[in-house]
Every structure is written in structure tokens, then in C-alpha cells.
């Protein structure tokens, strides 16, 4: 049988973890953290046409204490860097980050040789779970990002993945 590598936690609540993850996946409460143009697309996603509340994610909590997902929608620049880090640290533990838009992924259109003020990418500040490319990404892309995050949390994908092309 060979030796068994004992899992980190002594008691493994396999089933309970699955249930908790399912609960967490279905009620991701994003924090209202709109910086720039992507924030408008985030509001459109909350609108009636692309309705983010179908996935239980419509409660946009203003305070970082009660939110699970930080959707970084926009450009982080050097003056805001400290504020963004503090907000990330204030969020209670099972927290995820969605980098929405090219600015949050890699500085986007402002990643130029004379860039003196833009932080090139949110992952320079904290670990990012899902990247949504686009400038600004379409609301459907944000919904796909949330479904990808749910797949990352629960391991199962809710809807069939759309094959490109």
C-alpha cells in the first residue's frame, strides 16, 4: 500500500467541504469597487439584461467586511495602491479576486514606456483568481468569469462551456 500521505488537517470533512464550497459558490457577494470604465460594464451586468443576480451575486456589499469577491474593475495607480491593498486585507478569509479588464490584468492601454503612475496588473498586489480580458470586457465575459470562479471553488462547472469558434 505504501505509506499514505496524511492530509494536512487531521479530520477531513470531505463532504462538508463540498457542501460549504457549493454554498460559497452560489452566493459570491462582490464588493462595489469600480475604478473606471469596467465599473460601468459591471453595473450593466447588474442590470436587467445580463442579470448577475441569477447566480446569487447581486448583493453588491459596499463594505469589504461582508464581501467575498473583490472585482478589480479598472486601473490601479500608484496613489491608490495602498488603499487597494488595505481593502484586500480587510476582507474576511475565503476571499477571491477577479481582475476585470486589461488594466487590472497588465496595465492595459497604459502599459507604455513612459508609464510613471499605473501599477501594471492587480497581481502585483495580491493573488488574482480569474482574469477577464477586454477593454472593457462585455458583461457576458464578467458572467463567464464568475462561472469560472465558481468552477474553481466547487470543481464542477454549472453550464456547458461554450466552445470558441
Amino acid at each position: 500500500m505504501g505509506e499514505e500521505n496524511v492530509p494536512a488537517s487531521i479530520v477531513q470533512f470531505a463532504q462538508l467541504d463540498k457542501l460549504l464550497n457549493l454554498g460559497r459558490a452560489n452566493s459570491l457577494w462582490p464588493m462595489t469597487f469600480g475604478l473606471a470604465c469596467c465599473a460601468i460594464e459591471m453595473m450593466c451586468t447588474g442590470g436587467s439584461r445580463f442579470d448577475i443576480s441569477r447566480f446569487g451575486a447581486e448583493v453588491f456589499r459596499p463594505s469589504p467586511r461582508q464581501s467575498d469577491v473583490m472585482i478589480v474593475a479598472g486601473t490601479i495607480n500608484k496613489k491608490l495602491e495602498l488603499a487597494v491593498k488595505t481593502l484586500y486585507d480587510q476582507m474576511p478569509e475565503p476571499k477571491w479576486v477577479i481582475a476585470m479588464g486589461n488594466c487590472a490584468i497588465c496595465g492595459g492601454p497604459f502599459k507604455v514606456k513612459e508609464n510613471y503612475n499605473v501599477v501594471e496588473g492587480a497581481d502585483k498586489l495580491f493573488p488574482v483568481d480569474v482574469y477577464i480580458p477586454g477593454c472593457p470586457p462585455r458583461p457576458e465575459a464578467l458572467l463567464e468569469g464568475i462561472m469560472m470562479l465558481e468552477e474553481k471553488i466547487t470543481g464542477k462547472r454549472r453550464w456547458p462551456r461554450v466552445q470558441p469558434g
Binding site: 496613489k79 513612459e114 510613471y116 503612475n117
Partner: protein, 168 residues
């Protein structure tokens, strides 16, 4: 256009010596003999402004006060860094708010090493933020400005980004 002549007359007595009749305005200042301070009528359809006033830095407040009485409002203050001529230039844009349209551009040239221009935030409070931004980007010190600190860059930034010789 009554207004343009009237404003030109109002500004004219600020500059005792007659402005050098520069060649049709707009082409580069370098070739034409350096223009004396004065008021020149420019073609608004192409340059957007009716009057182009070149003045010394210390006359800036006087010009501002004259235009304030005529009911102009301060549209924008922009700085230009003429690296090769070793000069900064501060451009004030004044415009009419309502009524007949007439835009006045006031330009002042300042030496590049110790750029100092008197502030006009006393006359136009709008200038407060514009001047702070020009200081932020070019390092032009505006004398006795109430609160001359950086406005757009982090407070501890030590560089002036829009200078031609600046590269991060």
C-alpha cells in the same frame, strides 16, 4: 465684432509700446523675430481663439484683472516645456460664459531653471486647481498660491512628469 475690438482696446493700454505687427499669426515663433508683448488678433476658425496676448509673467495678474472685469471666465491653464529654448510657457485661456463668443489666449514665457509666475487664484478661484496641476506636471512655482501642493500625483512624488527631459 464689437466684443473683440472692445477687449483688444481694454488690453491694449496694458502694453504701452505697440505690438510688433507679427506676420500672419500662427506660424512658428522661432523664425519670426521674437514678438514683443502685445495683443494680436488671430483667426478663430483655425486657432480657436480670437485674441492672442503675449505678456511678461508679472503682467499676468493685471491681464487677468482686466478680463475679469469684462466678464470672462478662466477656461484652462496649460504649461509648455520649450526644452530647446530653455523656457517654460504658461498659457491662460479665457472665454465668455454666454452671450457673444470671444476666446482670449494669454501666454507668458518663463525661464526654465527657476520658473516662477504670480498666481491669479485671487482673481479667479478656478485657477487654484489648474495652477496646482501645472506645478505638479512642470514644477512651475506660482508665487503666493494659497496651497501649492501636488494635485494628481502621489504627495511624495519627487519628479515632474510632463517635462520633456523626464523619462521614468
Amino acid at each position: 465684432m464689437g466684443l473683440v475690438e472692445q477687449t483688444q482696446a481694454a488690453l491694449a493700454e496694458l502694453f504701452p509700446e505697440p505690438a510688433l505687427p507679427a506676420a500672419p499669426a500662427g506660424e512658428g515663433d522661432q523664425e519670426a523675430p521674437p514678438r514683443q508683448a502685445g495683443v494680436v488678433v488671430t483667426d478663430a476658425a483655425r486657432h480657436g481663439s480670437h485674441l492672442d496676448v503675449l505678456c511678461r509673467p508679472d503682467q499676468v495678474v493685471a491681464v487677468a484683472r482686466v478680463l475679469d472685469q469684462d466678464g470672462y471666465f478662466l477656461e484652462a491653464i496649460s504649461g509648455v516645456d520649450w526644452l530647446d529654448k530653455g523656457q517654460f510657457e504658461v498659457i491662460y485661456d479665457y472665454n465668455r460664459l454666454g452671450g457673444e463668443h470671444c476666446r482670449v489666449t494669454v501666454r507668458a514665457l518663463v525661464d526654465r531653471n527657476e520658473p516662477a509666475v504670480p498666481t491669479i487664484s485671487g482673481v479667479f478661484p478656478a485657477a487654484d486647481w489648474h495652477e496646482r496641476e501645472t506645478f505638479d506636471f512642470y514644477g512651475i512655482r506660482f508665487q503666493d498660491h494659497p496651497n501649492l501642493i501636488r494635485i494628481l500625483l502621489p504627495e511624495d512624488a519627487d519628479f515632474h512628469p510632463l517635462r520633456k527631459d523626464y523619462m521614468p
